[in-house]
């Protein structure tokens, strides 16, 4: 890895960590979601500071360049995250639909009961 790439990596991971921190400070993010980003930025900082780790695995897997392995790792992590977020969003949409239907059905019931009450009196 070139010096420039390492500097970019360090800078990017530090900025990412700062964003996560400020968002949590402002109460905009749940801790359970922040955990992933904190751990990811820590991993990036570690890899940027100790590129020997990447070199070791690059030769272990017989890959062309350390940057390739780094990209592979990051793409894999992001795909996993993307998939779990996709699942999560589906769950949320389902819940939102259930809630909306619940409220509408309750209102209908309330309205019908009121109407019936008025007819009787």
């Amino acid at each position: 890895m070139s010096m420039t790439f390492r500097i970019i990596l360090i800078a990017a991971s530090v900025i990412a960590t700062c964003i996560v921190i400020t968002r949590i400070r402002k109460s905009r993010m749940q801790i359970q979601n922040a955990v992933f980003w904190v751990l990811l930025s820590l991993l990036l900082i570690i890899l940027a500071l100790f590129p020997a780790i990447i070199y070791f695995f690059t030769s272990l897997f017989g890959m062309q360049s350390p940057a390739n392995l780094l990209f592979l790792i990051i793409i894999f992590l992001l795909l996993t995250k993307e998939f779990s977020m996709s699942m999560h969003i589906s769950g949320l949409e389902e819940k939102l639909k259930d809630l909306t239907q619940n409220i509408a059905l309750e209102r209908e019931k309330e309205f019908r009961e009121k109407e019936n009450g008025e007819k009787k009196s």
Partner: protein, 230 residues
């Protein structure tokens, strides 16, 4: 006893909930309680209605944090002085509520029913997790909490307000750690707990590992830069 609210989050507890409420009502005077049914897929809600238990029925599943917060909002809005977090699976014993309250009256913000206040922790895989959390809290706050994962805790009105109104207040060890850091006074009293009576525990090995990573990252890193408002 009417200034204490026992909050019982229940997810698929049709086998246990009746026993829990019966044992709660044995004590006289019985404390106020509320069951928060967390969108169960079994007959928990129907059973509670049939037996005329005091029930808040969530139409969708919110998870433990959301369900418990519902109870805390109820406690806050109805002026309760103390709130107790109490499991719906029968592992907690109602007999400790009064001793916890007495401890609370000495001026604490949180009292934990602790399995290890006087007794030693057994050496098991599960207790390794407990020890790690205990150590993490000790390192970041300087306070020793012997049973941080105990799910039976009593909170005072000030703490009820925080749980009721703020984001990031799940009833978990990292929240306790955060509150201690902010100056909350925590005490523990020795308590026995039973094994869950029926149904399955949600804690599979994979989930246990995920839980540990979450709680430890939260205590060791995130709680350190958490702002005053959150």
């Amino acid at each position: 006893m009417k200034d204490i609210l026992v909050i019982i989050p229940a997810f698929n507890e049709e086998k246990n909930i009746a026993g829990v409420i019966e044992r709660l009502n044995e004590k006289q005077p019985a404390p106020d309680y509320v069951i928060v049914n967390d969108g169960s897929t079994d007959h928990t809600a129907a059973l509670c209605r049939k037996n005329r238990y005091h029930l808040i029925d969530l139409p969708v599943n919110l998870g433990l944090a959301g369900a418990f917060q519902t109870g805390m909002r109820y406690a806050w809005e109805n002026g309760y002085r103390y709130a107790v977090q109490f499991d719906g699976d029968g592992q907690h014993r109602a007999e400790y509520i009064m001793p916890m309250r007495e401890k609370m009256d000495e001026g604490y913000d949180i009292v934990i029913a602790s399995r290890f206040e006087e007794e030693r922790k057994p050496a098991s895989f599960r207790m390794l997790g407990s020890n790690m959390i205990e150590l993490a809290i000790l390192m970041t706050t300087g306070v020793k909490i012997k049973d941080p994962t105990s799910g039976m805790r009593m909170y005072n009105r000030k703490t009820i307000e925080e749980f009721a109104t703020r984001i990031n207040f799940p009833p978990e060890p990292d929240t306790i750690s955060w509150l201690v850091k902010r100056g909350a006074k925590v005490a523990e009293i020795q308590a026995k707990m039973d094994l869950r009576a029926g149904g399955k525990s949600y804690l599979t090995p994979l989930k246990a590992v995920k839980y540990m990573v979450q709680v430890l990252t939260s205590i060791l890193f995130i709680q350190n830069f958490r702002g005053k408002v959150t």
